[in-house]
């Protein structure tokens, strides 16, 4: 196991742990306002200080981890459940019109400026976590479709697939039995990377006010709230910023580590 994997797993599980613990316990009620106690610096009763409404930042970070993880996880889930079958289908029908349609569709989604579309989606359907998930999820679909197709295509050239065809198995069955398990590693690795990108995207959307709505805490919105206060309450910006960086860093390291660990040869698209 590489250092990347250990460090990545440690950082990621720290965040996940914080999120899970927040269901049972947080230092304070994350939503409880205490305006006279606003903008307390870290240390003292509030370990990480308080925000502009006097809420406990440590508690908000913990509950915010929940939001980030949930949004990114579901968005990756959407990307995988739709993208992977599309990629498998395209690979199985390589060169056919179906392949062509799927791949051109992918290119098209890629061609849309994602942030702008995310803003449009939230403008149409209103801001909120669910719409943020959809907006992020849509852009995950082509990523997974493309990577699945690429890996599946090279697998289709392998002799064991030919052997399965000789055994009379159809494309769907071969895709499920032989292709999918062999691209699983790749998908796990890409999944962690998309997951980290999802967390960044959620933060970005929340930052412009289109992500999770109050009172659900969200790291991106905490940053947005902190914006005007950086100069006199820098902890309000630093803490959520560090939380995002730690999570994304952890997930990326985990992805890299997993890749090296599972299969050093697979390659991952990173954009």
């Amino acid at each position: 196991m590489s250092r990347n994997l250990i460090l990545g797993a440690a950082l990621s599980s720290l965040v996940v742990l914080a999120a899970l613990v927040s269901f049972l316990w947080t230092p304070f009620d994350h939503a409880a306002m205490n305006i006279p106690d606003k903008l307390r610096p870290p240390g003292g009763a509030n370990l990480l200080g308080t925000d502009h409404f006097g809420r406990d930042i440590a508690s908000m970070i913990m509950v915010g981890a929940r939001t980030s993880i949930a949004v990114a996880l579901v968005a990756v889930g959407i990307g995988m459940t739709l993208g992977v079958p599309l990629g498998l289908t395209a690979a199985a029908r390589k060169g056919s019109w179906l392949d062509e349609v799927i791949m051109r569709g992918n290119d098209l989604v890629f061609a849309f400026p994602s942030l702008v579309i995310a803003i449009l989606i939230t403008a149409v359907f209103g801001p909120g976590a669910v719409n943020a998930i959809i907006a992020i999820g849509i852009f995950n679909i082509p990523v997974f479709a493309r990577i699945t197709r690429g890996a599946a295509l090279s697998l289709w050239e392998r002799e064991f697939i030919l052997a399965a065809r000789v055994a009379g198995k159809g494309a769907a069955r071969i895709s499920a039995e032989h292709i999918l398990p062999n691209v699983a590693n790749l998908l796990i690795v890409q999944g962690t990377i998309q997951f980290s990108l999802g967390i960044l995207a959620e933060a970005g959307l929340s930052y412009v006010g289109l992500g999770a709505q109050p009172p659900t805490p969200s790291w991106g919105r905490m940053l947005a709230d902190a914006q005007t206060m950086v100069s006199f309450a820098p902890h309000m910006a630093l803490i959520p910023g560090v939380a995002i960086i730690v999570t994304v860093l952890g997930l990326n390291l985990l992805g890299d580590g997993l890749r090296d660990w599972l299969d050093p040869r697979i390659r991952v698209a990173r954009t």
Binding site: L162, A163, V166
Partner: protein, 537 residues
């Protein structure tokens, strides 16, 4: 004085010993062949001479090249030696050239990097060596890119690069393994000619004893990182003191004892089959072109008969296999098994499919690494309407595994736990499990070491006896086809150019193509004969 003097060379990679006390020397104008099975350390020996070893490698001992001790030489001095004093040719011509630079550029680079001459002179020299390796300027201008050349032509470019500065020593690591027999013969001739002409020393690495016998002055046999036997070619072949050398030699010329054919009833009928591949369109609205990979092929295969199919790479052998298996639709003609078409109404005919199985070339790539052996070899059960279940299934698995010389309990293992030869046995077990009437072997032994190959061929003969197999054996290796088949088809550019009883075709080829194939194939000399001619006892 020798040109290259390796003494007591030991090598370890990440503390894993790879070579132990290698001694080897080459004189100017001498061809020394290093042979041995896969993994015996041949390539590492060559790379040690170039000092291009993989990371983590440590060398002990001494390598003197043209009087200079090269171990411990600084990198800059080594760079000055490489390409100028010693040149190297690698096995894979397809990937040994930089795809984005012209061949002229790449040949000239050898010259320019050593500042041996002015760019104009270098260009002239590049032209000259390309000429010398058989790439005349009319057809092969310097501005060509590697992808515009065939494998054999690329290998010539690589050789031209290696000899551009007339190095004193040329190292060739399996230079012809990836090539056709006819191309191989040409390249070997070319190398021999160059040695004579320039008085170079040639260190030639090959696992093919027949090639070795035909061209080397001296042979070194390697095993597990050691040189087990070395000597002048004729002496060594006549004596063969080391049992390993003897085993290697015997395995190379291994002949099996095929039982006679019993029935005469036709099983497979291929009638006038053609298969086209669509080429990319040349212009936007132009009609796409077609490449005819199989062209009007007809033949029949009787029950119990063993048929061979030989031909150069790309002549359409595998395409024909896929057509017979009903995996792809053919553009014209009919393929019938047991009287029924394998492909009907644009769909493969499943009833017929279950009467056929196939064994592929690559023992590493033909199994899903994520499944256990039991699942791997029972995959053909999918073809059956009512596949065996429970104990019946376990019995079938055990039977198939035991038939190929493995144990029933191997069923629970994963494929990576087996060696190449064992994997090929598992591939045969997979083919046998539904007791097919016809098995297609597509280059089934080409990737194996000679000794393993001999075992698999024996196994096939054994199975013929016990299971009365009918098979189509596809290979580019004539000697193998000769021993394992009754009848043979010779294929060239998608057409069958000659067919007949195996022995007869080989001893008295009619078609010029068959003749050239047989002539080009290197033959293993008969040690008896060498002994007699040399006056040994």
């Amino acid at each position: 004085m020798s040109l290259l003097e390796i003494s007591g060379l030991s090598l370890s990679i990440h503390a894993q010993p790879v070579l132990h006390g290698i001694d080897l020397s080459i004189a100017p104008g001498e061809i020394v062949a290093v042979t041995g099975e896969s993994g015996s350390g041949k390539s590492m020996t060559a790379l040690a001479v170039m000092q291009l070893l993989p990371g983590g490698a440590r060398c002990d001992g001494a390598i003197r090249l043209d009087g200079t001790e090269i171990l411990n030489l600084p990198e800059s001095r080594l760079c000055a030696l490489r390409g100028a004093t010693v040149g190297m040719v690698f096995q894979e011509p397809m990937t040994a050239l930089n795809p984005v630079r012209t061949i002229g550029d790449q040949v000239m680079e050898t010259i320019l990097i050593h500042k041996a001459m002015s760019p104009e002179a270098a260009e002239a020299r590049a032209r000259e060596v390309l000429d010398r390796v058989g790439l005349p300027p009319e057809r092969f201008p310097l501005a060509r890119y590697p992808h515009e050349l065939s494998g054999g032509q690329r290998q010539r470019v690589v050789i031209a690069m290696a000899i551009a500065l007339r190095p004193k020593l040329l190292i060739a690591d399996e230079p012809t393994t990836a090539l056709d027999v006819t191309t191989q013969a040409q390249i070997l001739d070319l190398l021999k000619g160059l040695v004579q002409e320039f008085g170079m020393g040639l260190l030639m690495i090959t696992h093919d004893l027949a090639v070795v016998a035909g061209m080397a002055d001296r042979i070194a046999v390697m095993r597990h990182g050691e040189v087990v036997e070395t000597g002048p070619t004729r002496h060594l072949l006549a004596d063969m003191r080391h049992p390993y050398t003897r085993m290697l030699f015997q395995a190379s010329g291994h002949r099996v004892d095929l039982p006679p054919t019993r029935t005469e009833e036709p099983l497979l009928q291929v009638e006038n089959v053609s298969r086209d591949y669509r080429l990319p369109r040349r212009a936007l609205f132009a009609r796409p072109g077609y490449h005819r990979a199989v062209d009007g092929v007809s033949f029949a295969l009787d029950r119990g008969e063993r048929l061979g199919l030989v031909g150069e790479s790309g002549c359409g052998k595998s395409t024909l296999t896929r057509a017979i298996l009903g995996l792809e639709e053919v553009q014209s003609g009919q393929i019938r098994l047991d009287g029924e078409p394998v492909f009907s109404g644009h769909r493969p005919n499943m009833r017929i499919r279950r009467k056929m199985q196939v064994v592929f070339q690559d023992p590493y790539g033909s199994f899903n690494p994520r499944h256990r052996v039991e699942r791997l070899i029972t995959e053909p059960f999918h073809l059956l309407e009512d596949p065996p279940e429970g104990p019946e299934r376990a019995e079938a698995i055990a039977e198939a595994l035991e038939a190929v010389g493995l144990r029933a309990k191997d069923a629970a293992k994963y494929i990576h736990e087996f060696s190449g030869g064992q994997r090929q046995r598992i591939a045969i077990a997979r083919a046998l499990i539904i007791k097919p009437e016809l098995i297609l072997f597509d280059e089934a032994v080409s990737a194996l070491d000679v000794s393993v190959r001999a075992q698999i061929l024996d196994l096939m003969a054994e199975l013929c006896r016990s299971h009365n197999l009918t098979y189509l054996f596809i290979s580019h290796d004539l000697s193998v086809v000769r021993t394992i088949t009754d009848r043979v088809l010779v294929m060239q550019a998608g057409r069958i150019v000659e067919q007949g009883e195996t022995e007869q075709v080989f001893s008295d080829p009619r078609h010029p193509y068959t003749k050239s194939l047989i002539e080009a194939a290197p033959v293993l000399p008969d040690p008896e004969e060498i002994r007699r001619s040399q006056g040994h006892v």
